[in-house]
């Protein structure tokens, strides 16, 4: 097995810079906090700009109006969206994209991908963001990410995937304010796409987990950077708080964890992009590690900000809630490790 490519290319860095600049402009902390307290928590204006930038259709082939690049680039976008906890329907649409790409012989699937690439539609995969997806799905799917702004849903049922409009989409009071979930009810079977629904969902979960890992790296880095900046300018006992050794050591350890998490996340995206045999191992490694690191980073961010980190007005809580929800999303670290056990012959 040759080594994965764990460097980001100049093209990838240019994409990152573009997205980051956009988010700095349209999704600073105050804007995001205001947005999530409103009745329309998802920012569709921002989404439209991302569509125009091509950032939402990176893995869709050019023939269908997408960018025709790879999941590596999508992971760059995920990381930047995580760094800003931007309230846009990226994860839900990427799950749908990955599923549809496995069924792209079907003209309805092609059409859906085209509409997604152009921004005409927001199509979301109707699975519970947390919890088992392997059971039979009820008419109501609970806790679907990004459902509130979806025009259509991809619904796994009877071994296939169905392209459906929802009968109702009910908001749920969600822990994660920047990626709330909805309960979605269907009463129309819609269009059944040709091909295996199971393998489509499997592909979606793999891609979604790899993107989540990238997002978690973005979250963790924001938390570390913000904490370091705060501790440099906060004085107590006549010294910058960041000069106290116990805190320095904790932040050094956190940085060390992020170095490992970043390598694992890049590896998962690269494995996905190159469709290599190792992708399941790569994704399980990345998800279990990055979930944990992001939660720890967010928890340290709150703690090391002291009282101010406990307030609603400081953005730290948005990251804490996202990090914790991400840990539950698409399998907890423990479940990813359990999956790994059989992949690498370490039976329990």
């Amino acid at each position: 097995m040759s080594d994965p490519n764990l460097l980001t290319s100049d093209v990838e860095e240019a994409l990152r810079a573009g997205v980051r600049e956009l988010l700095a402009d349209k999704a600073d902390a105050a804007t995001v906090l205001g947005r999530v307290e409103s009745s329309t928590p998802s920012d569709l204006d921002l989404w439209r700009t991302l569509v125009d930038l091509g950032a939402t259709s990176l893995p869709i082939p050019e023939s269908l109006g997408g960018q025709g690049v790879s999941w590596r680039e999508a992971a760059v976008v995920a990381e930047e969206l995580g760094r800003a906890v931007a309230p846009v329907p990226f994860l839900g649409t990427m799950l749908a994209t990955a599923a549809l790409l496995t069924l792209s012989d079907d003209p309805h699937a092609q059409d859906a991908l085209k509409r997604m690439a152009s921004g005409e539609s927001v199509v979301v995969l109707a699975i519970p963001l947390s919890g088992p997806v392997d059971g039979p799905l009820a008419r109501t799917v609970r806790s679907v990410a990004d459902a509130g702004v979806a025009d259509q849903f991809l619904v796994p049922a009877d071994g296939g995937l169905h392209l459906v409009e929802a009968a109702s989409v009910q908001p749920v009071v969600s822990l994660d304010l920047t990626r709330p979930v909805w309960d979605v009810t269907f009463d129309d079977p819609g269009v059944r796409l040709t091909g295996s629904g199971e393998s489509a969902v499997d592909s979606a979960l793999l891609a979604g987990s790899a993107l989540l890992a990238a997002e978690q790296v973005g979250i963790a880095e924001w938390c570390l950077t913000t904490t370091v900046a705060y501790l440099k300018q906060r004085y107590q006992f006549g010294r910058p708080v960041g000069s106290f050794q116990a805190l320095k050591h904790r932040l050094a350890d956190l940085w060390q964890s992020i170095v490992l998490a970043r390598a694992a996340a890049l590896n998962a995206a690269d494995a996905l992009a190159t469709s290599n045999d190792d992708v399941r191992v790569a994704v399980a490694v990345a998800q279990s590690l990055c979930s944990t690191v992001a939660v720890r980073a967010a928890e340290e961010c709150v703690q090391l900000h002291g009282g101010i980190g406990m307030t609603w007005e400081h953005p730290a809580h948005l990251y804490l809630k996202r990090a914790k929800a991400d840990e539950l999303a698409l399998g907890t670290p423990g479940r990813h490790r359990a999956a790994l056990a059989s992949l690498v012959n370490l039976p329990g």
Binding site: P128, L129, S130, G131, P132, R142, S143, V172, V173, S174, L175, D176, L177, V181, Y235, Q236, F237, G238, R239, P240, F244, A246, L247, V295, E299, V302, Q303, G306, G307, I308, G309, M310, T311, W312, E313, A316, H317, L320, K321, K324, A325, E327, L328, A329, T332, P333, G334, R335, R337, A338, G348
Partner: protein, 389 residues
Amino acid sequence: MTDVRGRVKAFLAERDPATTDRLDFLRARFDAGLAWVHFPEGLGGLGLPRAQQELVEAELAAAGAPDNDPRRIGIGLGMAAPTILAFGSDELKQRLLRPLWTGEEVWCQLFSEPGAGSDLAALGTRARRDGDDWLVTGQKVWTSSAHTARWAILVTRTDPDVPKHAGMTYFVCDMTDPGVEVRPLRQITGEAEFNEVFLTDVRIPDAHRLGEVGDGWRVAQTTLMNERVAIGGRSIPREGGMIGVVSDTWRANPDRRTPEAHDRLLKLWVEAEALRLAGIRLRQQLANGAPGPEGSAMKLAFARLAQELSGLELEITDDGLRYDDWTLRRPDMVDFTGRDAGYRYLRAKGNSIEGGTSEILRNIIAERVLGLPSEPRVDKDVAWKDLPK
């Protein structure tokens, strides 16, 4: 020795708790010296050893007497009262202690500031002399009960030209003064347990000063020494508190179980049980008259456990992505069991910050319990106004 039990019985003989108005009963109890028996006579006490209070409480509870809802007025009872007793004039003691104890007047504590959290002595709220009064201007934060309080204990800076510990002065502040503005401080849970308090030329008579001018740090130490983890009279049962909630969540949700979460739960169960046992041991030491320093270990462990348990609970609960309510509530106290897993997760984050951060607590343990040397200090001999902020 005064026969406390006899006194209580005599008191009860005159006033049937079942038929006496609650407030009348409490006032009479104060006047009978049965409020806090270790306080002086005339101020709600009998000048007896503190340990005797337990007898009084037990007798009154057995008779079905109303209490003064001590959790609700904890700051008054635990912090203001001992400080007023130690440093207040006779007039102040007479005026303040009775309604404090009965709960007719709620107290709050104006200590922390945005720039003075762990480093309380850095505080910058200025008090300037104006005839027989002081004029106080500044901002305080993390003030619970400020919106219901009649009085506050307040630490201010009266001399910025001396090192920080030397230029502070301590007052009793009337919260109804027009210069006092209270704003709810919303937390990450959505609710607002605490407040920000803005003081603008608040006028405080010099007679409301506690301790000498410039002696506020020492007075504040008296207050803070009384703010320690309350060790109740009774043991917590096994699986009491958050471990019980999380264990029940585990039992109720077999689908969410993983071997990894199982061992994590068991580890936390073990630690929660050991923490409970450490509490029993500490109470037994107290009863024996030889309390150890283990209380600080318990606060540290409690915060960590509450955080880890609530983090785990979100993973094993039915749907951890949901929250119960983001409405801006104004609760009287923390409700760790009445709300859902998400609330516990978020609220527990405060356990390692409020009442002294875990970091400060570790410093204290290292220096006072283990006797390790302090770090080099850069702020001891510098005038407050010259400190970097």
